[in-house]
Chain length 131, copies 6
C-alpha cells in the first residue's frame, strides 16, 4: 500500500529518469526500488536526496557497512517498515554476516531498553559527560 | 532533575554495591555514573542489565566502538538526553575521531529524514527485499 | 489486520450509530472509515473523539487544509500507517495540490533530520528562544 | 524553560481560573502545576483536556493507580520529560510502592527492547493473533 | 513480511529448540509465535530474552494482566505492529475485559496527547515534582 | 548542556564562517543560534543542511509560516526540546498569532492521540485510501 503510485521509467520525467540512471550506475544493478520511484513525483527532492545519500553513505572515516548498520538502528527505533527491509537488504549485500547482524540486533534492543529507562527515570546528566 | 535520587555507595545495598564494583573493575575507573546509581534502587534490575550490557557491548563480530556508535544512533532517534551524553562520552573514550563522529551524525540525519518520508508515503516494500 | 473487528452499522450500538450518522452528515458522504468502526466498540470514546475532532479540525485561525497537513506531519513522525493513509486522503479531498504535497514532504524530511541531529548533539537552547 | 510563560491565577482569564479551581477541588490541594498554567493561554483547550482527563483517569474497570502507571509507560516511550515527572509524582501519591515502581520500569524496559527488535526484524503477525 | 524467515522446530538449533520447549511448558500451549522463531537465528539472544521475560512478566507486586496492559501501552507509543497484536492477544488470554481494554485505550490516547503538548510547549518541570 | 561546544565566529573555520554570514544575511539579524554553531564542527554538513533549509523553508506552494508550523508539529512528535524552542520562535517571528498557535497545539494533540489509538488497534487501512 502507498499513498502514491511508484512511477515506472516511462512515467517518470526526464529529470527523475536521470536519477534512476545514476542509481543504476552507482549500484551496478538494473533494479530501482520503490522509495525512489515514489519520490520521483518530485524530481527536485529525488535529486537532492539521492545526491546527499551518495555522499553520506559512501566510504570515509566509517566503513559503508557500518553506516548501513547505523541506518538499520535508526530505522528500528523509528519503526520504519520500509527502511528496515531496504537497509537490511543493503547491509546484507555489503557483507553483513549472521554474527554481525545478531550483535547489531542485541545492541539495538539494549539501547532501546536503557533509553526508555533513562526517560522514565529522568536520569540527571553527569557533569563528567558535559562538553 | 530525576524522579529518584542517585544512590551513593553508602546508600546502596550490598548487592547494588557489588555491581558498582564490577562496573569500576570492568571500566578501569572509579567513577560510577548516575544511570547505575538510579537503577540501584532495584538491585535485581541493576544486576540483570549490567550483566547483559557487558556481554552485548563487548568485543565480538562488531567492534566495541561500532557498537557505541549504533547506541548513539538509537538514542538520538529516541530523543534520549541522558543516553546521547553518556554514549557519546563512551564512544569518545573508545577512540571515535571527529571525522567518525561527523559521519555518524550525517547518517543519523539522513536515516531520520528517509524514515519520515517512507512513513509519510507508506512506500510498499519491494518483493526483492522480502526474506 | 486489526486486533478488533470493525463494526458494521448493524453491529454498532445506537449510540455508536448516531456518531456514524453525524460523520456522514458532516462529511457529505455515506462512507464511514475503519478507524471509527473500531472505536465503535466503545461508544463513549467514539463520541468524545469525534466531537473533539469536529471542533479542532474545522475552520478557525488556520485553514482546514493546513490542519490536515499538520496532521500528516505528526502521523509521519509517529510512523502511523493508518493515519498517513487517511489524512493524506483527507488533505487531497480538501485541495492539497501535488506542489503542496511535495513541499509538505520536504519539510517533514528536513525537520526529522534536524530533530535527530539536535537530539544527538543535545544542542543547548539559546537564551534568545526562552519565553 | 518553556516557549510560553505559565499563567498565575491573576493572569489567567476567568474561564481558565474556573478550571484551576476545579483542579484544586478535584485533587484536594491548592497546587496547580505548570502544564495547566501553560494550557491556560487557551482556555477552551484547557477545559476540554481537563474535563476529558477527569473522566479517563477516574475509577472504572481499571484502578486509578494502574492508569497512572500506564501513563508513565506511554510517557517514557515518548521521552516526555515533564510527563515522566508529573505522572510519577501522581502515581506515588496514589500509592505506588517501590516494588510496583521497580516492576513497572522492568516492563517498560523489556517492552521497549522487544518493540525495537520486532521493528528491526519486521516480524510477520501470526494468523493466531488476528481478530 | 520479515527480513528473516521464522525457524521451524526442525530448522532451529538444539539450544533454540530448548527455549521453544520452555515457552510451550510455561504457557501451556503447543504454539510458538513468530517473534521467538525469528530470534531463534541467534539462540543466545533468544535465551537471554525469554529468561528475562519470564521473570519480568510473571507475578509480583503487579498483576500479570496489568503488566500486559503496560506492554500494550509502550507498544502503541512505539508504533510496533507485531507487539500490539501479540500483547493484546496475551492480555485477552489473561482476562482483559472489553471495559478494561476500552479504558486502557483511553489512557493511551490521553497520555499521547498530553505528551505531545508538553513537548511542544516545553513545560518547565515543577519544583514540586523533583526528587 | 551539549556533547560539543558551540563554535564562536573566531573558532569556526572560514568555510563555517561563510555559512554563518549567509545565515545572517538571509535572516537580517546578527544572531547565529547554537544549532548552527554546533554543526560548524563539520563545515560540509553545515553547508549542506543550511543550503537545503533555505530551499525547503522558503516561499513556494506553502507559506513559510505554514512550513514553520509543520516543523513544530514534527518536532513535538519527536520530543525535540531544541527544535520546539527554535521553531516556535521562528513561527512567532513570521507572524503566528496566539489563535494560530492554539489551533496548532490542538491539532498536534489530537493527531498524537489518534496515532496512538490507531497503532494500538492496528486499524486496517481502508481500500478507499489506497493509491
Amino acid at each position: 500500500m502507498a499513498v502514491l503510485s511508484p512511477l515506472t521509467d516511462e512515467q517518470a520525467s526526464p529529470a527523475a529518469r536521470a536519477v534512476f540512471d545514476d542509481i543504476r550506475a552507482t549500484r551496478g544493478t538494473d533494479y530501482v526500488n520503490n522509495f525512489w520511484r515514489l519520490l520521483a513525483h518530485d524530481p527536485d527532492q529525488l535529486r537532492a536526496l539521492w545526491d546527499r545519500l551518495k555522499v553520506v553513505m559512501g566510504p570515509g572515516a566509517l566503513d559503508p557497512l557500518v553506516k548501513e548498520m547505523i541506518y538499520i538502528a535508526v530505522s528500528a527505533a523509528n519503526a520504519c517498515e520500509y527502511c528496515a527491509h531496504s537497509h537490511t537488504a543493503s547491509a546484507r549485500a555489503k557483507g553483513m554476516s549472521d554474527e554481525m547482524y545478531a550483535e547489531l540486533l542485541a545492541v539495538i534492543g539494549l539501547a532501546s531498553q536503557t533509553n526508555a529507562l533513562a526517560s522514565a527515570l529522568q536520569v540527571p546528566v553527569d557533569d563528567a559527560f558535559k562538553a
